[in-house]
C-alpha cells in the first residue's frame, strides 16, 4: 500500500451492478444530473447472484485497480438468494486475492437500492477513495501476456 495516496491517481474500478438496484440507481443519478466519479466502469448484471468468480479475476488480471459489487440488501433480492450468494462469493474471492498477493480491500460490496439518487454517487466516491489510498494495482502496470483481448479498458 502506498503510504501517501497520490491524489492525481485516478483508479479504474469495475462495478458489477444488479439491474434492480445499483444499475437503476446509476440511471436515476444520471436523470437527476448528479455526477459520480469517472473511475467507475459499470457492468450490468441481471442479479448480483450472476457475478462469477471468473468475472472478478478477469477484471483484476486485466489491470483493474478495484472491483466492486453493487447489490440489493440480502432481504430485498428479486431472486431471493442472489445477493446473499454473491456476498459469499466475494468473501471467497477476497481470500483468493490475498493468496495471490493483491490487497483484498480492492474488492468490496456496496449495498444499493434503486431509490438511492445521492447514495450511489457517494458510495462510488468512497470506493474510489478507498482504492486511491491503496494506489494502482500491482498488476496494472504489467498486462499479462496470455490474457485475452482487453474488454474492460479498451
Amino acid at each position: 500500500m502506498n503510504e501517501k495516496p497520490d491524489s492525481a491517481f485516478e483508479p479504474r474500478i469495475v462495478a458489477f451492478t444488479c439491474q434492480y438496484c445499483a444499475y437503476a440507481a446509476a440511471d436515476l443519478a444520471g436523470t437527476l444530473h448528479r455526477s459520480y466519479p469517472a473511475s467507475l466502469r459499470i457492468v450490468r448484471l441481471p442479479c448480483s447472484g450472476k457475478l462469477d468468480a471468473l468475472h472478478v479475476l478477469k477484471a483484476f488480471e486485466e489491470g483493474a485497480d478495484g472491483v466492486c459489487l453493487m447489490a440489493c440488501s440480502e432481504a430485498n433480492c428479486h431472486h431471493i438468494d442472489g445477493s446473499r450468494r454473491a456476498r459469499q462469493r466475494i468473501r471467497y474471492l477476497q481470500a483468493l486475492l490475498k493468496e495471490i498477493g493483491i490487497e483484498p480491500e480492492r474488492l468490496a460490496v456496496i449495498t444499493a437500492t434503486s431509490a438511492m439518487d445521492g447514495g450511489l454517487p457517494q458510495a462510488a466516491a468512497e470506493m474510489t477513495e478507498q482504492v486511491r489510498k491503496l494506489g494502482p494495482s500491482p498488476l496494472a502496470a504489467q498486462r499479462i501476456p496470455s490474457t485475452p483481448k482487453n474488454r474492460f479498458f479498451a
Partner: protein, 222 residues
C-alpha cells in the same frame, strides 16, 4: 461420487515452481460436480497462477482444458497434443486422473492440484459427506442401507460401541453414530431382528488388506 478439494494455493505454486508452460487439465465428472476441478475451477486456478507469478516477476503461460473423464485414456488421447506440449500438467482431477496421465504419458510431468478426499455425496449446498470406503464386499443389505464401514468411526461390524452417546460418536460430536443410524433405520423398517444375528470377523482381503485390487471380466476382455 469421488469427492475432492483443492490443495492450498501455496502448495500448488510450489508444484509448478520454475515451470513456464503449464497445462491445467480439469475433469468433467465427479470433481466438476463437487466443484473442485471442473472447467470453472480450472479457469479460477489458471487466473490465480498467472497473477501470482506475474507479481513474482516469473510469468507463466497457462493452457486450460477440461476432458469428460481423466480416468480413461481415450479422453486423454484427445488432448495429447496439449499434454505433450506442456512442461508440466497440473491435473484438477482426482488421483486416478493424475495417475492415468502418468501411465499414458510416461515422459510427461504431472502434478495434482486436488486432494482426493472420499467417496460421498452432497447433503446440502457446499457440504459433502463420506458414504463408502470401497471395501469390496458390500453389506448394506444387512444394515438398512447405512454403511457401518464408512459411517462408524471404528468400522464396527456389531455396534454400537460404548462411545455412542445421544446418537453421536465419541470421536466428534458432529459425527452421527453410524450404528445409531442403522438401529433407527432398521427400527423404522420393522427389521430390528436383523441385529440379533452376530456378524463374524470380516475378511478384509477384498479391501486394502489384499494389496492393490483389480477386476477382470473375461466376457468383456479383448
Amino acid at each position: 461420487m469421488i469427492v475432492a478439494e483443492r490443495k492450498p494455493f501455496a502448495e500448488i505454486q510450489s508444484l509448478v515452481a520454475g515451470r513456464k508452460r503449464v497445462l491445467l487439465l480439469g475433469c468433467g465428472t465427479c470433481v466438476t460436480v463437487c466443484m473442485a476441478g471442473g472447467e470453472k475451477e480450472v479457469g479460477i486456478l489458471a487466473a490465480e497462477l498467472r497473477m501470482a507469478r506475474q507479481l513474482a516477476g516469473e510469468p507463466i503461460e497457462t493452457v486450460e482444458d477440461t476432458v469428460q473423464r481423466q480416468c480413461e485414456w481415450e479422453y486423454l488421447d484427445a488432448v495429447a497434443d496439449k499434454i505433450l506440449a506442456a512442461d508440466t500438467v497440473l491435473s484438477l482431477a482426482c488421483a486416478i486422473g493424475v495417475q492415468a496421465i502418468a501411465e499414458r504419458f510416461p515422459k510427461v510431468r504431472v502434478v495434482p492440484a486436488l486432494n482426493t478426499s472420499f467417496l460421498g455425496l452432497p447433503t446440502e449446498h457446499g457440504v459433502w459427506k463420506e458414504r463408502c470406503q470401497a471395501c469390496g464386499n458390500c453389506l448394506l443389505g444387512k444394515t438398512g442401507g447405512i454403511c457401518p464401514v464408512a459411517r462408524c468411526s471404528k468400522s464396527l461390524m456389531n455396534g454400537p460401541c460404548g462411545g455412542s452417546q445421544g446418537g453421536k460418536c465419541e470421536v466428534n460430536p458432529d459425527i452421527d453414530c453410524g450404528w445409531q443410524l442403522i438401529y433407527d433405520r432398521l427400527s423404522a423398517l420393522g427389521e430390528l431382528d436383523t441385529l440379533l444375528e452376530i456378524e463374524p470377523p470380516r475378511d478384509w482381503r477384498t479391501s486394502r488388506d489384499g494389496g492393490p485390487r483389480k477386476i477382470v471380466r473375461e466376457d468383456l476382455r479383448q
